[in-house]
């Protein structure tokens, strides 16, 4: 222990110095990095706050029952009229139909992965493909749905169900991921207890595994719906735009909320003639903000309900 480059041993009162001696360079680095890390967080909050604030403050003015209960039929120019009823109808129908397709497939596939597939090559492949599917860009999903129906019905078909198929491609992997996670949380003891009572495998899954994890599955589905309900690009490609109400998923174009937002935004300012009081130049943007606020609220409520379901209805198994 003789070849030491460090300072000689402090003794007695010099120990006090050693204990008090903070290396200023190191302490400064520590403080700077702490500052940067906190700054990173604050920086990320700025867009969130700015976005929430503008959406609410610019959208609230036009968001009333008239806006919610009227379509854009017969609305043109800078008219102080028009609403999103047709878009709400379209969004609800298309998203629910997408959920109708995705949830059974997603949950069954998750059951396969957790209950039957463990360790099998097919299950590994499926897990991998689900990962891949999670990464499919939404616009590609739209193209796929378009191509599929072009093959079945000839090119140019545009109606709600095609949009639902496109959304399903995006939704299925999300449902599988979250369901898989929830099913894995069910303790094996419960399954074994049920099987030991002579309950067949499939009833064990339905009555024990699914029942135990129903809250978690619901949350997963809610969050998946929240994720796809704001999708714009695939619907733009497959469902198109329309100004009037269409309840039929299988015929004719439909309007949806996100596409409505985009459409109003894209139309931009209206050229009003000087002194025309009935013409509002930025009416399209006002409608875009109000529709964006509606969409924003729907997504937030879905998220909130999803989390609350887990919090209040989850069985206490951990």
């Amino acid at each position: 222990m003789t070849t030491t480059p460090t300072t000689p041993t402090p003794a007695g009162s010099s120990l006090r110095e050693a204990l008090q001696a903070t290396d200023h360079r190191r302490r400064r680095t520590d403080r700077i990095m702490r500052g940067l890390i906190i700054a990173a967080f604050v920086l990320a909050m700025i867009p969130l706050l700015s976005l929430s604030w503008t959406v609410v403050s610019r959208g609230i003015g036009r968001l009333d029952s008239y806006f919610l209960l009227n379509s854009m039929r017969g609305v043109f120019g800078g008219m102080d009229a028009g609403g999103i009823y047709h878009a709400i109808v379209g969004t609800l129908e298309i998203t629910l139909f997408a959920a109708l397709i995705s949830v059974p497939i997603g949950i069954m596939a998750a059951i396969y992965l957790v209950e039957y597939g463990a360790g099998k090559p097919l299950a590994k492949l499926v897990t991998f493909l689900v990962d891949v599917m999670t990464g499919i860009p939404s616009i590609v999903a739209g193209l796929f749905a378009y191509a599929l129906f072009a093959l079945l019905l000839g090119p140019g078909a545009k109606f709600g169900a095609i949009g639902s198929v496109a959304l399903s491609v995006l939704m299925i992997p999300v449902v599988i991921r979250s369901s898989e996670e929830m099913l894995r949380l069910v303790p094996n003891e419960l399954r074994e207890a049920s099987l030991a009572l002579g309950v067949p495998r499939w009833l064990t899954i339905v009555k024990v595994v699914l029942r135990t994890s129903v809250a978690g599955l619901t949350t997963g589905v809610m969050l998946a719906i929240a994720r796809v309900i704001g999708e714009t690009a695939p619907l733009l490609l497959t469902v198109g735009v329309v100004d009037s109400i269409n309840f039929n998923l299988f015929e004719g174009r439909m309007m949806t909320l996100p596409v409505y937002v985009y459409r109003q935004y894209a139309q931009g300012l209206v050229p009003c003639t000087e002194g025309d009081a009935s013409c509002i130049a930025d009416i399209n943007l006002q409608r875009a903000w109000a529709a964006a606020l509606t969409l924003f609220l729907i997504v937030m409520v879905l998220n909130l309900i999803g989390r609350l379901v887990t919090r209040f209805f989850a069985p206490k198994i951990r």
Binding site: M1, T2, T3, P5, T9, A11, L15, L19, Q20, D23
Partner: protein
């Protein structure tokens, strides 16, 4: 290079829970002091207050004084980072940094304070520290290989080398052999016997034979029941503690009647 430690009226808390109560003891320089006692009696918690590692757990705090040569480690002017430099620590499970080579592991602490250490000095320090930890002959040909490739006992000696490379005053060891096989344990015990000529060593152990073999002084901690704070029952020369302890509880524990 070794200092006396005086502990006065020390209470240790985790949030509202008092984990250790009213400890008073003196730890002699250039000797080995062993802490024994049943699980959960607070001996490891107490050990971690000696280099202010206790307070990194959220909500943990300490009342009382821990003085090294009269300097209170919990004084207002004291920098906990500097304290941990002066009071080194070796943990229950060997924990070399997995992404660093053997040599880098030894130098890890030194580089914090002295980034521009010359290559020659660095090599000398690596050799001196590894020799000090009885590891040099086993690893001198593979200093640039990852530390995680060594055996458990070698890893633990690497951790000791890393701790003594920064020239601490005191070396704390928290059950350093509990994860090791008997041969490696023996190697560590031999090392402790050599190190005590230069360092004040405090070791927590579950193994009473080990306490008897390596230590000059032994402190017995006990706990009245779950939820109660741990207490120092008695501290004395190891020979006295194992032959004629003053307290009944100590005798019961040492003779294996509980714990």
């Amino acid at each position: 290079m070794a200092q006396r430690i005086d502990v006065k009226d020390l209470n240790i808390y985790y949030g509202a829970f008092k984990a250790v109560e009213d400890v008073n003891m003196t730890i002699e320089p250039r000797s080995v002091t062993a802490f024994i006692g049943p699980s959960g009696c607070g001996k490891s918690t107490f050990l971690r207050t000696l280099n202010r590692m206790h307070e990194v757990i959220p909500g943990a705090r300490v009342e009382g004084t821990v003085a090294v040569e009269g300097v209170d480690l919990y004084g207002a002017e004291i920098d906990p980072v500097a304290v941990r430099r002066q009071v080194g620590m070796v943990f229950q499970r060997p924990n070399p940094f997995p992404t660093m080579s053997i040599a880098e592991n030894v130098l890890a602490g030194v580089r914090l304070n002295n980034r521009r250490i010359s290559k020659g000095d660095a090599n000398d320090l690596v050799e001196a520290s590894l020799r000090g930890a009885n590891l040099w002959n086993e690893v001198k040909d593979r200093l640039d290989r990852p530390g995680s490739g060594l055996s458990g006992g070698q890893q633990q000696r690497l951790c000791i080398a890393r701790a003594i490379a920064v020239k601490p005053q005191v070396l704390l060891m928290d059950e350093p052999c509990s994860a090791l096989d008997p041969i490696s344990t023996l190697a560590i015990e031999d090392l402790i016997a050599e190190l005590k000529s230069e360092y004040t060593i405090v070791i927590v152990t579950h193994n009473m034979q080990q306490a008897a073999r390596v230590s000059e002084r032994t402190a017995f901690f006990n706990i009245a029941g779950t939820g109660q704070p741990g207490k120092l029952i008695e501290i004395d020369d190891t020979a006295t503690m194992f032959s004629s302890p003053k307290e009944q509880a100590t005798e019961d524990y040492i003779s294996g009647r509980f714990g």
